[in-house]
Amino acid sequence: MSPVMYNLLNVVLILVCVVFGAALLTWLERRLLGIWQDRYGPNRVGPFGTLQIVADMIKLLMKQDWVPPFADRLIFIVAPAFAMFVVVAAFAVIPMAPGVGVVDLNIGLLFFLAMTSLGVYAVMFGAYASDNKYAMLGGLRAAAQMVSYEVFMGLSLMGVVMLAGTFNLRELVLAQADGWFIGPQIVGFFIFFMAGIAESHRTPFDLPEAEHELTAGFHTEYSGMKFAMFFIGEYVSVLMSAAMITVLFFGGWLGPAWFPPLGWFLLKTMALVLLMILIRGSLPRPRYDQLMSFGWKFMLPLALVNLLITGALILI
């Protein structure tokens, strides 16, 4: 196989797997939340309800694709596509196994941070274009929340970068051959995990779309496939956070040889996704000011102290 064909195959397979994985995740999350809340969840369509995704997709495709007359038409249409694009683009730099991965950027980690920081635009422009008070409140919340959580998301990763001495994600994984970074960087892991949940705005940090207060927050006016783009984008970003934590803290594809490297990667990612779903199923949503003061008064100092101690230990 020629290298161009190999790369093309890589790109297409990863794209398809990510999008379908995210779609499957909607089913998995509903089933798991059901189990943890002593219910069954969707179990009617197909074996164990797995075809529920197909049913949902048909429903969303058949729905009227409605653009409100008061909406800012161009931005209203671009925003959901952008939401999807940003998270899928961030997947490009994630190395899944030797030879599996789209690109091998020297600034891979920075590219990831750049893409997550652009993710706010989808929410904000979607909220602005809707011209709806709930959407606008959701958009304002999203902007403040994501900008402040980005700060220590980046800071928490600097410890890992210091230990590995590179921004290249493939080299970062290889640097963990002697020991995963979860050991020395447990605080960094905790901060990045929280920030990852906040960046993908899921419960308990789902204030931009808090159903009880803001109907659906920034995507109140969206329906049909435009809503589905936001919805699937959220699950892709869950997968992305989990994959990123696997790469940065759990040694990526590294593991005993009796299991293929890609298998190890998927296994670790899946375990983290389960943890995220468990957190969604159990923790309540904080008040908005609590969220902000938690971010700036607890997480940021913690990230700085972590950075300081890591740097000091490396120098010694």
């Binding site: 941070l113 920081s117 909220a127 602005y128 902007a143």
Partner: protein
């Protein structure tokens, strides 16, 4: 073969996008549309940085400018929520003759740039060597450490100023709090 020219094609395409987006950003009446074009302009600028070998600058352009500064702009615009009324105002404020002076100034700059580019001595060769993140770090904390420290002073003063503004003033206290202060 088209692949041989891919670099040039991408470079000039992103240059064109940058110029076009910036022009559109200036001429839009709707503030949010203008911001959208500004963001596109800074993103294509990041691509140009990357093609010129400054990968770190490209990433920072996206993270800091597109990802944080512009969001604050959008935030403020959304908070004010001007809508159609302000777009009409903008249209009234920007008559055709208002464009004359800025256009002349921009034309002078453009001609300077063109003279620099097409004269016998080019301003700077581009696309030759990449600047790694490590080089940037060494430069920042080696020869330019004084600048870094000065800018950190600037940030610190900004921080103190923000703290001072956000601090609760005694005159803003409610009567309850004042009583508490009185009783010690």
């Amino acid at each position: 073969m088209i692949w041989a020219y891919l670099y040039n094609i991408v470079f000039y395409a992103s240059c064109g996008v940058t110029v076009l987006a910036t022009i559109l950003m200036i001429s839009r009446h709707n503030a949010v549309h203008a911001l959208l074009y500004l963001i596109i302009s800074s993103l294509s600028l990041a691509i140009i940085f990357y093609l010129l070998g400054a990968a770190f600058a490209a990433a920072l352009e996206v993270i800091v400018y597109a990802g944080a500064v512009m969001i604050l702009f959008v935030f403020v615009v959304m908070m004010l929520n001007q809508g159609q009324r302000s777009a009409a105002h903008e249209a009234a404020w920007l008559p055709a003759r208002g464009w004359i002076l800025p256009s002349v100034l921009a034309a002078i700059l453009l001609s300077l740039l063109l003279i620099g580019m097409y004269s016998d001595q080019p301003l700077q060769p581009y696309g030759v060597h990449g600047v790694a993140v490590k080089d940037v770090g060494i430069a920042l904390f080696g020869p330019y450490v004084l600048v870094v420290e000065l800018s950190s002073f600037l940030l610190l003063s900004g921080l103190i100023g923000a703290f001072h503004i956000a601090r609760k003033m005694p005159s803003h206290m409610s009567s309850n709090e004042l009583e508490e202060v009185d009783h010690g």
